[in-house]
């Protein structure tokens, strides 16, 4: 039997697809359309990273090692590089230079002779260990305005093994029955300065498959439910902080407490920084991926400045709105696209220069999907919850269109529940202390877009889940998404 290796291309230039034609999902009167991008027949389209060149072409890397460029004008794909090790992130530097996060290294992939093919692969950093476990995924890079790069090293999984020979200093204090850390800096976010220094930046992550910045340059990172992660979440990551999974603590500078799992949970709990937004597992997300900030200044619709987050295991992308309460970011999450022709496996998101949102999908043995799709704003204003903000007495909901006052004034149309998730070494957490919360009072603002809700009680440390029923716009449009969850870490003063 022949081995199935994608062997070299000699002549490779433009590779036309013969497989699937663009399957566009046009629904009359809707605000967003989903277009599927044709990919070459031979390509296993497990998308590890996407980014845009300034000229509007897409650069994408795929988990079997290819870096490819797609021209939306001609709908042609060209192969730029191949043979990389499970690349899960790409950043465009210019039209002939990309940074690619692969398992062994962060690599600068460059075409130096102008033939459109990469010929130079330079190590940007390999200053982290490799144990040889299948779950040892690396994510990023993202860059801040000062030119610092951020990458993420996930924890390997006990479901797998490690190789007899590893790279990096081995420490078995970080071994646990589920996810573990045995070489530096598994479970960390690393910062690489413009002059090439690598700084261990923040720790306590499990499988942090997604990094991004908001417009205020806050670093936002998602993590996946599992041991020590009661539900899926979005962290606001800041230097030196610990985010909850103990395995990575062993790589903290001057760590002298041996096995971090022996530290009492109450102490670990007091050490950790809580997530800015919890995504209730199973109902909001099952496996969140990359956060990307809407910087399109309206080209993508009304949600400028808000965050979109991919979801791997369902046909969904969610939207996150953040606000600062008592000095800390917290906020709410709500489905954005749910079905409507969107595939599963939504792993990577990027805004094109034309303001459309591109989505790269993968499965790689998990319940996902494969391919690339593009979401386009049609110009029709959706009826959706624009924002949910904490007040001293409850929440303000701001809608994208004026509401129908009659429905909006009915307290029975707002079903609130509150609950929390346990912090422990077991996999996930049930919802704890679930209670319904009644709406006591409703006030509609003069613009008819903002509705102020007063709740019976408000308590920090809880997710407030709201299911809105029967509410519609004054225009008659029905509410696009009626299920929203706000994480109250702090109360508004």
């Amino acid at each position: 039997m022949r081995p199935y290796i994608p062997e070299l291309l000699i002549i490779s230039l433009s590779i036309f697809s013969g497989c699937s034609s663009d399957r566009n999902n046009h629904v009359a009167g809707t605000s967003y359309e989903i277009h599927s991008i044709s990919t070459p027949d031979w390509l296993t389209c497990e998308t590890g990273g996407i980014d845009f060149l300034p000229d509007g072409r897409l650069a994408a890397c795929f988990q079997r090692g290819e870096v490819m460029i797609y021209d939306p004008e001609t709908k042609e794909w060209t192969l730029f590089a191949q043979g990389l090790h499970d690349p899960l992130g790409i950043m465009v530097i210019n039209k002939s230079e990309f940074l690619v996060m692969q398992r062994p290294e962060l690599t600068r992939v460059k075409d130096t002779d102008g033939d459109g093919k990469a010929d130079l692969f330079e190590t940007v950093t390999d200053d982290f260990g490799q144990a040889g476990n299948y779950h040892e995924f690396n994510y990023g890079p993202v860059k801040d305005k000062s030119g610092n790069l951020f990458i993420a090293i996930s924890l390997p999984s006990e479901g797998g093994k490690i190789m007899p020979e590893t790279r990096g200093r081995m420490d078995t204090n970080g071994v646990s029955p589920i996810q573990f850390s045995v070489v530096p800096y598994q479970g960390w976010i690393l910062k690489i300065t413009p002059d090439g220094r690598q700084i261990p930046y923040a720790m306590g992550f499990r499988s942090q498959n997604g990094l991004g910045f908001d417009l205020e340059e806050n670093l936002l990172v998602t993590d996946n439910e599992g041991d020590w992660v009661g539900t899926d979440k979005l962290y606001h990551v800041q230097e030196g902080n610990f985010y909850g999974h103990p395995a990575s603590l062993i790589w903290k500078k001057d760590w002298n407490r041996g096995n971090p799992y022996k530290i009492p949970i109450s102490e670990l709990d007091s050490m950790r920084t809580k997530a800015a937004v919890l995504f209730p597992h199973g109902i909001m997300t099952k496996s969140p991926s990359q956060p990307v900030c809407d910087n399109t200044q309206g080209k993508f619709g009304p949600f400028s400045g808000q965050i979109f987050v991919g979801e791997m295991n369902s046909e969904r992308i969610i939207r996150v709105m953040l606000e600062k309460i008592d000095g800390e970011l917290q906020g709410a999450c709500i489905p954005f696209i749910d079905g409507s022709g969107l595939r599963k496996g939504n792993n990577r998101l990027a805004f094109a220069p034309d303001g459309s949102l591109w989505v790269g999908q993968t499965s790689h043995g998990w319940p996902g999907g494969e391919g690339i799709q593009r979401i386009v704003f049609t110009g029709k204003q959706p009826m959706d919850i624009y924002s949910m903000n904490l007040t001293t007495r409850g929440f303000d909901l701001t809608f994208t269109q004026p509401v129908d006052d009659f429905a909006a004034l009915n307290p029975d149309n707002y079903k609130f529940q509150r609950y929390y998730y346990q912090y422990h070494g077991k996999y996930g957490s049930p919802k704890m202390d679930v209670q319904t919360v009644a709406v006591k009072d409703i006030k509609i603002f003069p613009d008819h877009k903002k509705v102020s809700l007063t709740l019976d009680s408000l308590k920090a440390g809880y997710v407030y889940q709201l299911n809105v029923e029967n509410l519609k716009a004054a225009s008659g449009d029905s509410l696009a998404n009626s299920f929203i969850c706000y994480t109250v870490n702090k109360l508004s003063k």
């Binding site: 027949d41 988990q63 062994p104 290294e105 299948y134 479901g159 190789m163 590893t166 199973g282």
Partner: protein
């Protein structure tokens, strides 16, 4: 539990289950079946057979990294039950994702990674093909198997229409051992496949950061980016990545040929005197006519190394460049490496070759397969 405790526990469980099985077999009433949830959304056992009415002990262990359950249904009811489970929505977690459905016969709890449970039940008197399935959302389409309740012979594995695709080409107990399943084969890229080219993957007998390079003349080699040296070379086909490409479980590329060279000296270049093992750093590689030229440093000195096949296809030509060298460099090897060494300058003898600063700006080591 630490690893030793875990192993001990595993050993005890195996012993216990052997003892229990043999004890019950003496009574002739209990059949013990072990099924594990494993990576890639799979049960390691996709079918088993029991006699109608016999007592069955099913031991179910979750060896994967995500939660799984095992639900046995009435014949033909797998999809119906799985759909009912997906309909549970928010209530799914509390119910272990097992729907209250008349066609569910037996079900386990939802097991987190590493957990084990068991079910004891009497097989139906009615002969039939009883499916089992993981009803955790998203898993049921591929993660299932069947319990044959019959005294008769069951279909050959390769012809069994009741098990998931991709399990038919080899015995269920060693699914991953033999053949690349045709299910995972890929269409060939529409370009000419001509070496040289490279591929990075988990490859045996190297660190996790190895680079496999395919050369003309059916020669391939493994160069390690962690240790910065040539690990081994082989003749024959290149690599089979089928297992790795399935994703979501521990897998390695298979070397599809015969290894004719293996480095036995560890790091082959020494600065100033033999035995001075240098500190190395991998800087990357440049493709020169598509051959990778590796760039690394030894004690801070830049070294470039380009490997090509020899014309006869009997060995490798390694060209080293050390443009800014002002030191003596030693190349070290052993007689057990599987090849004969010659060089462009000097004479490699007794496992070493001395290269003066003038000589080591560029030199070539030729490694030719030893004839057996």
């Amino acid at each position: 539990m630490d690893i030793i405790q875990k192993r001990l526990f595993l050993l005890l469980s195996i012993l216990t289950s052997i003892l229990m099985t043999s004890a019950h077999q003496k009574q002739g009433t209990l059949t013990t079946v072990s099924i594990n949830a494993v990576g890639g959304l799979k049960y390691d056992k996709v079918r088993f057979q029991v006699k109608p009415g016999s007592k069955v002990k099913l031991i179910f262990a979750n060896k994967d990294d995500m939660p799984h359950n095992l639900v046995i249904t009435e014949p033909g009811a797998r999809i119906e039950v799985a759909n009912a489970a997906s309909g549970l929505g928010d209530n799914g977690v509390e119910l272990n994702y097992v729907p209250k459905h008349s066609k569910v016969l037996w079900s386990t709890a939802l097991l987190n990674p590493g957990e084990t449970t068991s079910l004891i039940f009497s097989a139906p008197e009615k002969e039939g093909i009883y499916p089992y399935v993981c009803t955790y959302p998203g898993h049921s389409l591929v993660m299932f198997g069947v319990m044959y309740v019959t005294n008769k012979a069951i279909p050959l594995l390769e012809n069994d229409p009741n098990i998931p695709p991709g399990n038919k080409s080899s015995d269920v107990t060693q699914q991953n051992a033999q053949h690349p399943a045709s299910h995972f084969s890929e269409p060939a890229p529409p370009y000419t496949k001509v070496p040289p080219f490279l591929y990075r993957a988990f490859i045996p007998d190297a660190s996790p950061t190895a680079i496999a390079v395919r050369l003309p003349q059916n020669i391939s080699y493994c160069w390690d980016a962690a240790t910065c040296y040539l690990r081994y070379a082989w003749e024959g086909e290149f690599l089979d990545n089928t297992e790795i490409w399935k994703g979501h479980f521990q897998a390695y590329a298979k070397v599809m040929g015969t290894v004719f060279f293996r480095n036995n000296t560890r790091f082959p270049l020494y600065v100033d005197k033999p035995g001075n093992v240098p500190t190395v750093k991998f800087k990357g590689y440049r493709l020169v006519n598509r051959y990778p030229e590796f760039h690394y440093t030894i004690n801070g000195i830049d070294v470039y190394e380009l490997l090509k096949e020899n014309k006869e296809g009997t060995g490798l030509i390694r060209t080293f460049r050390i443009p800014k060298s002002s030191r003596i460099i030693w190349f070290a090897f052993t007689d057990e490496d599987g090849v004969n060494y010659t060089s462009s300058v000097g004479n490699p003898t007794n496992g070493k070759l001395e290269l003066s600063p003038g000589e080591n700006i560029q030199f070539t080591i030729i490694m030719t397969k030893k004839r057996l």
